[in-house]
Point group: C2
Chain length 344, copies 2
């Protein structure tokens, strides 16, 4: 079987079946208006010719598509994979396909992807977070295509929004740490401006400790190629400068790296130092020491966001922005009782 230069088109099927193009079109789409006999014959021939409809022509003719365009910061890690899974399952059952690209946290890359997406006339577009270039926002606001912003929360999204309040998450962690008597907080994440959610959480943490007139939050932002290594190295940095009594991490993977670092240095957790992760990732389920962390309902977020977007696509005029609940998971990497190290 040779590779044909030009794939079969609807006309080839029609000629071969001795019917008109329209009958083939109807038969293939499964709409009314073709006798069962013809339909079966047409389907047989289409399969035999390995006919695949041309989406470009179809989308051009009907001026819409059942395509959802998705933009993520990265494929690495469970976080976006979880959100993605929730969304995709929802879209798949509704008959929508999704095309995905990652921006590696670069707003210009996001803009380029949004342009490409718009050029396909998708049914909906999903962006991660709120940190877009102004041109991206203008482009999307001028377009009739529904837009979902997910993972971060704002009351004034481009269109619709489902996320969590990261600033509040930082406060939550800070309040917990304060109540346990921790006074010298540290924060380990990726370089500033890279991930604005991390910055929001750090801000929440800072404000809580500032209000308590406590020491300011030390932060380390090493650049490693893995979360684990970043957590390990960031912890080393903090321990070497002004040793904090509690370290908060961008996520559980980094916190695990930190735990390994403390272990290597002979520090005992939580008596010498407290560790707090974020996201309640899979890793936590096998650790001997339960990690103190914040549970984020990522899968639910994906499902909720996708459902809201589908509602907009199906004509609902406005869907209010949603903020999903956060839950602090108290583990064994922070003290259980207010400690003695309160005042310096």
């Amino acid at each position: 079987m040779g590779r044909r230069k030009h794939p079969a088109k609807i006309e080839d099927v029609a000629r071969r079946a001795g019917v008109s193009i329209m009958s083939v079109s109807r038969a293939l789409r499964g709409v009314e208006g073709v006798s069962e006999a013809k339909r079966a014959e047409i389907l047989r021939i289409a399969r035999q010719l390995k006919y695949v409809p041309n989406s470009n022509a179809r989308s051009l003719a009907v001026a819409n598509s059942n395509l959802i365009g998705i933009s993520l910061p990265t494929f690495a890690g469970e976080v976006f994979a979880d959100i993605l899974n929730g969304m995709r399952r929802t879209f798949a059952t509704a008959g929508y396909a999704s095309v995905i690209d990652t921006t590696e946290y670069d707003p210009e890359a996001e803009l380029a992807w949004v342009r490409r997406l718009l050029s396909w006339q998708p049914a909906g577009i999903i962006l991660t977070g709120l940190d877009h270039s102004s041109e991206t926002v203008e482009l999307l606001k001028a377009s009739p295509i529904p837009v979902l912003e997910i993972w971060d929360y704002t009351s004034e999204p481009i269109d619709i929004c489902v996320g969590i309040d990261h600033y509040r998450a930082g406060q939550l962690i800070g309040e917990h740490a304060l109540s346990l008597g921790y006074r010298r907080p540290g924060f380990v994440s990726t370089p500033r401006g890279f991930d604005t959610r991390a910055d929001s959480r750090l801000a929440g943490l800072r404000d809580v400790f500032a209000r308590a007139r406590s020491a300011s939050v030390l932060s380390a932002r090493p650049q490693c190629d893995s979360s684990f290594a970043t957590g390990y190295q960031g912890t080393e940095e903090l321990l070497d400068t002004g040793p904090p009594d509690i370290i908060c991490y961008l996520n559980d993977h980094m916190a695990f790296g930190g735990l390994m670092c403390c272990q290597a240095r002979g520090l005992s957790v939580p008596s010498d130092i407290g560790l707090v992760g974020f996201n309640e990732l899979d890793l936590a389920s096998v650790l001997p020491k339960k990690l103190t962390t914040v549970r984020t309902l990522r899968r639910l977020m994906g499902i909720t966001g996708a459902s809201d977007l589908l509602a907009r696509i199906n004509g609902v005029a406005r869907v209010p922005a949603k903020s999903l609940p956060l839950e602090l998971i108290v583990g064994e990497t922070t003290r259980r009782q207010p400690g003695a190290g309160g005042e310096v």
Copy 2:
């Protein structure tokens, strides 16, 4: 700024600029044939109108696209993310965009995705592994579109192939284990038939031990939602049935789960039991005990595969299938010397 119902088209730009459609087309594509003055004015108006070209119309007119369609088993884990990163970087610099979907290891889902991909007339298609439905293979072989199969290796791919020999990887691990005196091997992975690469590695392992007339390889295949938990539970299963003296895992994450399980049971590694992972994942960099594992050059694989596919796209008639080298990384979770437990 209201949301216009119909996005601006090339004709709108032309009318507004007082020129013909063709001048706009030329100006926007940056081809010869427009005076610089006109070009600047046209670009200004296009931007002002937030004009985005319609890809459907364009692809229909020129009968090709710079789109690469990619099919992955899953977004979870680092393995496919690493391969993907290598590929995407290569495509991006060559001006190709990629659209990705996951099959969750279901050949029928892969077929559906391939159909959709073909309907977009992409420049190339990438599939993970070799386990396709026969219809998928027929469809692709009948198409003129270059196809890359990645991650698994075969000398007879659909078109081109870059991967590793998973059977050989299993042998490698088996030979190493044998040489260290291990005689009762176990293997922990996901349910059978799910991931054919895991099955190949198990087969390689089995054959090595069978040739040595050693005990047959015990296998556990629990179904958990995370690799860590799967490794933990699979290890429990094996330890409870016929306790092996060495356990091999589908990947490092599972091996880590296994390590945690052994630790929880008070078993010491490697004196009581040896553990072997796969893939040399990021996690390993922070562990206090270096993991014995197999290094796979995933990023290189992505780059190589993408380059080969681009070569085919650019007219190279045939590109030979490539098998990338494997390297056993000897860590501290297996014995360093042949042990005493040789003969029973």
